[in-house]
Symmetry: C2
Subunit: 455 residues, 2 copies
C-alpha cells in the first residue's frame, strides 16, 4: 500500500512540476516520511530531481536535509552539485553531525572547506571533531555529545533532564558518568519508570557497560551491537571518557554496507558501483579488475601453450581443458565463500582455522573423487578412450583437492596480513585452480597418452 502511494506520488510530482506548481509539490511531499520522499525523488528523471530538491530547499529545508540523508552520500552528492557552498552548508547543518561529516568528507576539498566555514560554529566544530577519526571507525560514525547524566542524580532528576533536553530523538539508554566524564554505568528508559523517583542512578545502573573505542572498526561495532542485541553502543576514548554514541539504525546501515562490500568484492565489483551508477563510472570501476583478470588468464594460458604439441596430436584434450579448470574454480569458490563469510560473521577464528582447513580439504577431495570418476567415465564413453577418462578423473581429483586447500588458506592468509579477504581472494584462487587444472590435466595426458598406445 505504502509502495503504491509512493509510486502514485511520483507521478503527481511530475505533473505538478510541468505546471510549475511548486507550492503543491512541497505540500504533497511534506505528507511523506523522508525515506519515502527519497524514493519518490529517485524515481524521477535527473532534471526533475534537481528541480524538486531546490523546491524543498526553499520551502521545507528540514525535509530537504532528511531526504538528502536518506539518499546516501553518493546519490545525495548529485543533488548538492548544482548548489553553492552557502546553500550546501545551510542544508548540511540540519543533519546529525555524523551524517553531515559523511557528506563533507565526500565533497571536493576546496568546497568542503568553504562549506565548513559557512556552517554554524558549533556544528562545524562537531563535524571537524568527527573528521579527525579515520573513515569506517566508531569515532567517525558516532553522534558526538551523547546524552549522559551524573551518577549522583536521582531518577526524578534524570526524568526531568530527559524532558527538558532538546534534539533527543533517539535516546534508548541513559549513560551514567562520574565527575570526570568517565563512563561508569547505563540505565534503560524503562528502568526509570520502574523505581521510586528518589532512587539514585548509581543504585539502579548496570556497571558492566559494553562500549567501543573511537578507533574500533565499524564492522566490529556492528558485531558487538548485534551480538549483545543492543539499541545503541557508547563510544569512549582510551581513558574510558564518554565521547559519543552509535545507534542501532546506523548499525543496520553498516551491516548492509559490509555485506554488500563482501558480495561485491568477491565478484570484482567496487562497493560504490550500483544499479544507478552511470556507464562511465561503472566501466572505470570494473575495467581495472577485468584487466587483472586478463593478465592472470594469460598466465594460465601460457601453461596450455607449453603443452601445444600434445594438443596438436590429441586435439580432443582441448574439449576438456575448460571442464577441469572450471570445476576446480567452482569447488574453490564454494570453500572461499564459506570462509570469507565465516570471517565476516565472526564464526571463523584463528582458534578453529586448522579444523576448517582440514575440513575444506576433505570436502574438496571428496567432491573431486565423486565428480572426477563421473566425468572420467563420461569422457571414456564419449571418446572411447580409457586413458583419457583416467587422465580427466585424476586431474579433477588433484585440482579439486588443491581448490579446497587454497580456497581456505588464501582468505586466512590475507586476513593475517590485514588485507580484506573478500577483495583479492577470488582472483588468486582462480589463477591457482586454472594453472593447477591445466598443469595436472595436460601433464597427466603427456605422461600417459604418449607412452600408452591409444585406441
Amino acid at each position: 500500500m505504502q509502495a503504491q502511494k509512493v509510486q502514485m506520488a511520483a507521478g503527481s510530482v511530475r505533473k505538478l512540476l510541468r505546471r510549475n506548481a511548486h507550492g503543491h509539490v512541497s505540500n504533497l511531499l511534506t505528507k511523506f516520511r523522508p525515506a519515502d520522499v527519497a524514493v519518490i525523488i529517485e524515481s524521477l528523471a535527473e532534471p526533475e530531481r534537481v528541480a524538486v530538491f531546490s523546491i524543498l530547499m526553499k520551502r521545507n529545508r528540514d525535509l530537504a536535509a532528511e531526504t538528502l540523508n536518506e539518499l546516501g552520500t553518493e546519490r545525495g552528492l548529485a543533488l548538492l552539485a548544482p548548489l553553492n557552498s552557502e546553500e550546501i552548508s545551510a542544508v548540511l547543518q540540519e543533519l546529525e553531525t555524523d551524517d553531515a561529516a559523511e557528506f563533507i568528507s565526500a565533497l571536493p576539498e576546496a568546497t568542503a572547506q568553504e562549506v565548513l566555514e559557512r556552517m554554524r560554529v558549533e556544528d562545524s566544530t562537531d563535524v571537524q571533531g568527527l573528521l579527525q577519526y579515520p573513515p569506517e571507525t566508531a569515532g567517525r560514525i558516532m553522534t558526538p555529545n551523547a546524552f549522559s547524566l551524573s551518577e549522583d542524580l536521582a531518577v526524578s532528576e534524570a526524568i526531568h533532564a530527559l524532558q527538558t533536553a532538546e534534539d533527543l530523538e533517539m535516546v534508548f539508554y541513559l549513560y551514567v558518568v562520574d565527575d570526570r566524564r568517565h563512563l561508569v554505568g547505563v540505565v534503560s528508559l524503562r528502568q526509570l519508570l520502574m523505581v521510586p523517583p528518589s532512587t539514585p542512578l548509581k543504585k539502579i545502573m548496570t556497571t558492566n557497560v559494553i562500549s567501543v573505542k573511537t578507533d574500533t572498526d565499524q564492522e566490529e561495532v556492528a558485531r558487538q551491537v548485534a551480538h549483545y542485541d543492543l539499541l545503541a553502543i557508547p563510544v569512549t576514548d582510551s581513558e574510558n571518557k564518554l565521547l559519543g554514541v552509535i545507534t542501532v539504525d546506523d548499525v543496520i546501515d553498516v551491516i548492509k554496507e559490509e555485506a554488500t562490500e563482501d558480495i561485491f568484492y568477491m565478484a570484482g565489483v567496487d562497493v560504490h558501483d550500483h544499479v544507478y551508477t552511470p556507464v562511465r563510472g561503472s566501466v572505470r570501476r570494473r575495467l581495472p579488475w577485468l584487466g587483472i583478470n586478463l593478465v592472470t588468464a594469460l598466465i594460465a594460458a601460457s601453461v596450455v601453450a607449453f603443452f601445444e604439441p600434445t594438443i596438436a596430436r590429441f586435439s580432443f584434450l582441448a574439449v576438456f581443458l575448460p571442464v577441469v579448470a572450471g570445476m576446480g574454480g567452482n569447488c574453490g569458490t564454494q570453500t572461499l565463500t564459506v570462509m570469507v563469510r565465516g570471517l565476516a560473521l565472526g564464526e571463523l577464528t584463528w582458534a578453529n582455522s586448522r579444523a576448517a582447513l582440514a575440513k575444506e580439504s576433505l570436502v574438496g577431495i571428496t567432491n573431486g573423487l565423486a565428480l572426477g570418476f563421473v566425468a572420467g567415465f563420461a569422457a571414456y564413453l564419449w571418446k572411447s578412450n580409457a586413458v583419457l577418462g583416467l587422465v580427466l578423473a585424476g586431474a579433477m581429483i588433484i585440482n579439486m583437492f588443491v581448490a579446497g586447500v587454497t580456497g581456505s588458506v588464501i582468505p586466512l592468509l590475507l586476513k593475517k596480513i590485514n588485507v580484506d579477504p573478500a577483495i583479492a581472494s577470488g582472483i588468486i584462487l582462480t589463477t591457482f585452480t586454472d594453472v593447477t587444472g591445466f598443469l595436472s590435466f595436460l601433464g597427466l595426458a603427456s605422461l600417459l597418452l604418449h607412452y600408452i598406445p591409444v585406441s
Copy 2:
C-alpha cells in the same frame, strides 16, 4: 578485552570440567552474558559442550535456554540431541515464543510433537499459533501478544500498565488499539515522559503506523524496519488487528541471514553450510550443485568438440579458449552481482530495469572493446598471427556484450517468475558465457583462419 576474557573463560571451563567442578563451571558462566556463554561453548570440543550444557540445564536453566538461542537453530540442535523430550520442552519453554517455534520446527516431527505436548499449555498454544504461518514470514518470526493499550487510557494509566506488566524486556513503543483490537496508533516511551499524566493516549499517538501483515516476507519486514529506522514493527492480520511485534534485534538477524543467503547462493553454497558444518554435511550440500556445474560444463565442452578438426589444425587456439570464456564469465558476474544485490536492497525495480539493462549492456561492450583489443594485440605479438589477434578481439567483444545482457536479464527474469535470483543466476550465466565464448572464438577462427593464408 571482552574477547580476551571469553577466551580465558573457555580455558578455565575446560580445567574445571576435568576436575568435575560442576558448581564452579556454572558460577563462572553465570558471570557472562548469554551471547558470550555461546562463544565459550562454541570454542570447546564436542563432548565438553554437551557436558557444559547439561550442567547449565541442571543449575541455571534460564541461562541454558538463552545460550541455546544465541547458538542458533543448527548448532543449538546438536546440544538438544542427547536430551529427552521432557528436558527439551523444559528448556524451550523458557525461550521467547518465536525462538521456541524456530527450534521446534527444526526437530524431527515425532520429537516436536512430544515436546509440544510436554510444554506449558499457554506456551505450546503460542508456538503452534506461530507454526501455522509459513517459514520466513512476519507471522512466523513475530513475538505474539504485543504489548498494547486502549486508545481511551490516559498517559498515567499507560505508565502504570507498563510498570506492572511482566516479561517486557524489549518494549520500545506502546501500540494503541481500539475496542476491537484494531491497531490505531503508536506512542514512544519517551513521548509518555513528555506530556501531563492526564493526557489521553489518543491525543499524543501517531496514527500513521507502519505495520506488516502476517504473510509479509521477512526480507520485506527487514526492509521496512531499515527504511524507516524503526525499533520494532507491529504485525497485523488482514483486518488490521494487532497480532504481534517484531523487534530490531530480530531484524538484524534477518538482514545478516538474507545477505549470507545471497552470497552463498551466488557461489553455489547452501545457506546451512558453515565453517562448523561437518564434512559429510558440506559434501551433501555442495555436491549436487557441482554436479549441475559438471553437466553444463560438458554441454559447453561439446561446443568445443564440434570444432575439434579446427583445433587439430591450429593447436594454438586451445591456448585462448579459457581466456575468452573466463573473461566473459567475469564480466557477466560483475553485472549479475550488481543486479542481484540491487534487487535485494530494493534499488532495482521494474520501473528502472530497462535503464539498468541498457546500462549493463553498454558497460559490457565497452569493457569488451577495451580488453578485446588488448588481448588481441597480446595474442598477435605472442603468436605472430594477426588473424588470431582479430579473432580473439572479436570473440571477446561479442562475449562480453552477451555477458552484460544476460547478466542483467537473467536475475530480472528469475525474479519475475518468483525464483530467488541469487540461486540459479550464476550457473545459467556461466553456461551462456562459456557457450558464447567457445562458439564465437572457434566460429570466427574457422571462418577466418581457414580462408586466409596464415603466416
